[in-house]
Symmetry: C2
Subunit: 143 residues, 2 copies
DNA sequence: GTTCCTGCAAAAGCTTTGCAGAAGA
DNA sequence: TCTTCTGCAAAGCTTTTGCAGGAAC
């Protein structure tokens, strides 16, 4: 099950990570907006509530959360990182037309080949790119 | 089978892509050094042969080759891209200690879930991170 | 002579770092 | 008070762009 905001708050306390107003807001945003936001999206949105917020703080917070294992950094060939509060194994599909990122279930462990039996695997990622159903049907209408 | 340098040369001719000295050298480097080099690695190495080479040309060439589908861009959470002349589906494992990237076979198509049946998939990527056998045994010796 | 290619310099964009001041315990 | 956190400014890196000169046909 997806962790709730309260779960995360508890986990931070357990890990002895300070819970400033800014950090709580970043965490809250990630918990409520599961669209794999960029730093800029998080910053822009939170700035409406916290006018003095700086991007540095957003970067700091996300680094701390990632190091604590509470968020996962995903990078799909963009220069900019995206952040996912769902740290369970799952795949990402990025639409090359509208840019939306879709989650999909994937049994990553079944992929691990014999060749990697002597490797220690810490992180597993699967991502596809292409066109989502919405953009596909738009394209058909145009043609 | 892996494409040879000659295969690639032929394919470029077919696709009407000019074959300058610089482009041939980049292609040759990729065919002979299958270590997923960065732009900087390619540039630094080729500069020994072509002192006037510029990084812009390396970037241009790689973009053209990627657009033609002759090389694949791989980005594993680094800011810098890496380039792979092997465009067949396969997974990448990046050692977090020594930075080496290993290839491994993977049947990506078997992963595609029902949920994506209405999506058009153009590009499939699987990458793991962790520790390679060499770094694992070094670690044990130290402890 | 046209077209394409190269390469310098500058710009752009994301991220990190240094540091002084503010907040909190 | 002492530690931690914030946020501005500047720097760092990779990558892209503009443009003039050069090569190739």
């Amino acid at each position: 099950m997806d962790p709730t905001f309260e779960d995360l708050r508890q986990e931070l306390k357990t890990k002895n990570i300070g819970l400033s107003h800014q950090r709580l807001k970043v965490l809250e945003y990630l918990a409520q907006n599961r669209c794999h936001p960029t730093v800029d999206q998080i910053y822009t949105e939170l700035q409406k509530d916290i006018p003095t917020l700086s991007k540095t703080t957003v970067y700091n917070t996300l680094r701390i959360l990632a190091e604590a294992g509470l968020v996962k950094v995903i990078s799909i060939e963009d220069k900019e990182c995206r952040f996912d509060i769902d740290t369970e194994d799952h795949g990402h599909f990025k639409c090359e037309s509208c840019g939306t990122i879709f989650d999909f279930p994937v049994d990553i462990d079944s992929l691990i080949p014999e060749e990697l039996s002597n490797f220690k695997i810490n992180d597993k990622n699967v991502y596809f790119k292409g066109l989502c159903p919405g953009c596909l049907s738009n394209k058909k209408e145009i043609n």
